[in-house]
Symmetry: C2
Subunit: 447 residues, 2 copies
């Protein structure tokens, strides 16, 4: 039952990522009732997820309960899942059975991994989208070193510590740099039998270039910085199979103790539920006002939206997501004031950056000046920007402290393994590949 | 194959809890090779586990990788599991296949929950021994509030938020106080539909007294402090059944959205593997030198040991565990020097304390003065002692910061829900028990 005319309007926001959260924040003091729905109770600061995955930060340092961020009289937060959207009745159905009415609907449920139809690969090669993903990747990477230490103690040799990262975009590059750092800087002193610095990190990228969205000089710089860390890069390498313990490129088998997926994303399935035209990745085709054509009460924001400005698609990263959320909120405020919105969404691109382990990064800066940065300077820019945008003072302080500790003193942040002690494919590895001379002599031959 | 006479002696330590860790630390500069084996890669500071469970602290703040703590030339750390001990061959078999020789064996694998033979209860009512347990308890407690909010939104009523804690020892009391704090202090402002302060916490204790190990005046004080927080206590209440959504005391059914187990512990199964006399909880009977009678090369320390001094059993808490580990190390050092140990283990009891939420606690102090403390004073003593004994500067600093933030500003620490959104028994609850008048009006009757 919709409320009688003249009552307060209702905005329903689906998803509390960058887009949804910024839409809600920008509407906090407006004369509307807002309901924001998310499957999780927390907003995750995705750009720092890889630091949780690689044990520099703890989950709670980059996540904050949505309720806490949006504590406001006119906002209500529901931890629930969307099961249906009825555009003509203007209702959203939730899994719990709740039905929400809306006057304005903001759909911002983002994207998820795409395994290009090979969903069975997801168990073997996890991707990095959620805190659970991050903790699972951390578990696998740390466990590989522990298992190798045990194997060395038992047999005198160990499976080579080859880490394979599928995909050479920003996430792949960040994971590669961070694993290399962990092995070479932080784990060095911790093991008696294995040499953690013998770990190899390989990036497999299908296209001819890593960091395809970056200008060529920064791509080249990233390659140099990665190679300096010992990371191997193979471009033009299409992965044809992912199995426990190895991946295949064409017919070539590449052994891997831990395989990570950073290759593809697809839109959240909510795009389909909307019943409007989608692009091939499942993103919702929207016009300049972020509406699916013909549905002026619906805004699609963030990764889920396919927006083109001057024929160029707006990228699926944090900045445009925040801006779209704010744009949708501003437009809704205009309509509430009885005005007719006429300004379409414009993406104000301040630049883009990817970090490559400790003290290395590339940055394409668009604002406040234009330029390409590499190395230490880019890395400091990265640090500054990411702390600045982190939600909440507590997190900012905690993360800064943790970084100071980690980067200045080479101390581990959160190298805790929780969960199972199984690694997919570990037992299938040949156990006779790396032998080290030194050993403190506690090995027994009584087996 | 044991090494020829004259070679460096080998100490194998099983378990890196308080006892094992302190034994290893005390032997770090001795002329022995040490191998410490634990199923986990980290030492957990168990006295603060309940703060992780109740979202004040993050896992990494109370845990530290064993390798990092014990970085020393003569210590090696294996993340593995013990499958057998051969006392005559002086070997320990590990799950990975590794066989360790020992000259001295320190067994300190602690204790685990006891469900008194009803192991099927463990899924419904988790206990609190590991970081995984703590994160699971956190998930359930926080999720209950979220589910109630959703239910209220949908139906206008919600299942009463009854939390039942089985067991009134220190852990039960700590969990009860902390859940009450969360509901009354931190969650108060976060929900629109439900009133988190309506949450009820009930302690069911089988014996006639909570905190049975404490003197009567402190028991009384604890009861007053708990009641002040709104916690209900029922002593002499034997739980006869634990089911999703409720527990039974005799034939009485008590509804419960989250049931937690703090009732019983039993010794780690390693006691049995030793093949020596055990007490009824599975603890190893040891003499004054912490040896199982007739096995002078084996030391059993910590919760796994049944030690009696002047006819009184040493309690299974952190202090005696640390002291036993240090005693075993000191005795081994004596033997290495060719001396014959003649001093038996003496427990230096500095006292005992249990905290009851924010700013409340009871403490029985034995050293440096004798006395009973309650309330704020006991709580500050508790804070001080626990920060002092936390392993690692980083953790101490992080925990202090987090406490300041939480206790001074009522800010949440780590209220992140990860994992599934299912709560055992939630759907079986009657959905018509609590109705609140206020509601921001976004509910729909279109269902």
């Amino acid at each position: 039952m919709n409320q009688p005319a003249g009552q307060r309007k209702r905005v329903v926001i689906l998803g509390a990522g960058f887009a949804g959260l910024h839409a809600a924040k920008a509407l906090r003091d407006a004369d509307v009732d807002i309901t924001i729905v998310d499957r999780r109770n927390h907003h995750t600061f995705q750009p720092l997820l890889y630091q949780v995955a690689l044990a520099v930060l703890s989950p709670a340092e980059i996540a904050q309960p949505i309720r806490t961020i949006l504590r406001s009289k006119n906002v209500e937060v529901l931890m629930d899942e969307v099961t249906g959207i009825d555009k003509s009745a203007r209702t959203v159905n939730l899994k719990s059975g709740t039905v929400l009415n809306y006057d304005f609907l903001v759909v911002a449920t983002g994207s998820t991994h795409s395994y290009f139809g090979k969903d069975e690969w997801s168990k073997i090669a996890p991707g990095l989208k959620t805190l659970e993903d991050a903790v699972e990747i951390r578990r696998r990477v740390l466990l590989a070193f522990e298992l190798a230490e045990g194997q060395m103690q038992e047999t005198g040799t160990h499976t080579p510590l080859n880490f394979v990262i599928i995909g050479g975009g920003p996430t792949g590059v960040e994971l590669a740099g961070a694993i290399s750092d962990i092995a070479k800087l932080y784990m060095r002193r911790d093991f008696k039998h294995i040499d953690p610095t013998s770990a190899q990190v390989l990036i497999l990228e299908g296209s001819p270039h890593i960091l395809a969205a970056y200008p060529e000089d920064l791509q080249q710089s990233a390659i140099r910085q990665l190679e300096h860390l010992g990371v191997k890069i193979r471009t033009g390498s299409h992965v044809t199979d992912v199995q426990p313990g190895y991946v295949k490129v064409g017919d070539e088998r590449i052994d891997s103790v831990v395989t990570l997926w950073a290759a593809g994303v697809q839109a959240s399935p909510l795009g389909k539920l909307l019943g409007v035209p989608l692009d091939k990745r499942g993103c919702v085709m929207v016009n300049g006002f972020l509406h699916p054509e013909g549905h002026d009460d619906i805004y699609v924001c963030g990764d889920l939206a396919h927006v083109e400005i001057n024929g160029k698609q707006v990228p699926g990263v944090a900045q445009p997501a925040m801006q779209m959320g704010e744009y949708a909120a501003a437009t809704i405020r205009k309509i509430l004031r009885g005005e007719t919105p006429h300004k379409t969404f414009v993406y104000f691109d301040k630049g883009d950056m990817a970090t490559i382990g400790r003290k290395a990064a590339v940055a394409k800066v668009e604002w406040p000046f234009k330029g390409h940065l590499s190395g230490l300077m880019a890395w400091f820019t990265w640090l500054f920007v990411h702390v600045f945008f982190l939600i909440g003072f507590r997190n900012r302080f905690a993360v800064l402290r943790q970084w100071a500790y980690t980067y200045l003193f080479y101390k581990d942040g959160a190298r805790i393994i929780t969960g199972s002690r199984e690694l997919p494919g570990w037992e299938t590895h040949p156990q006779s590949s790396v032998t080290l001379a030194e050993d403190i002599g506690n090995r027994s031959s009584a087996a």
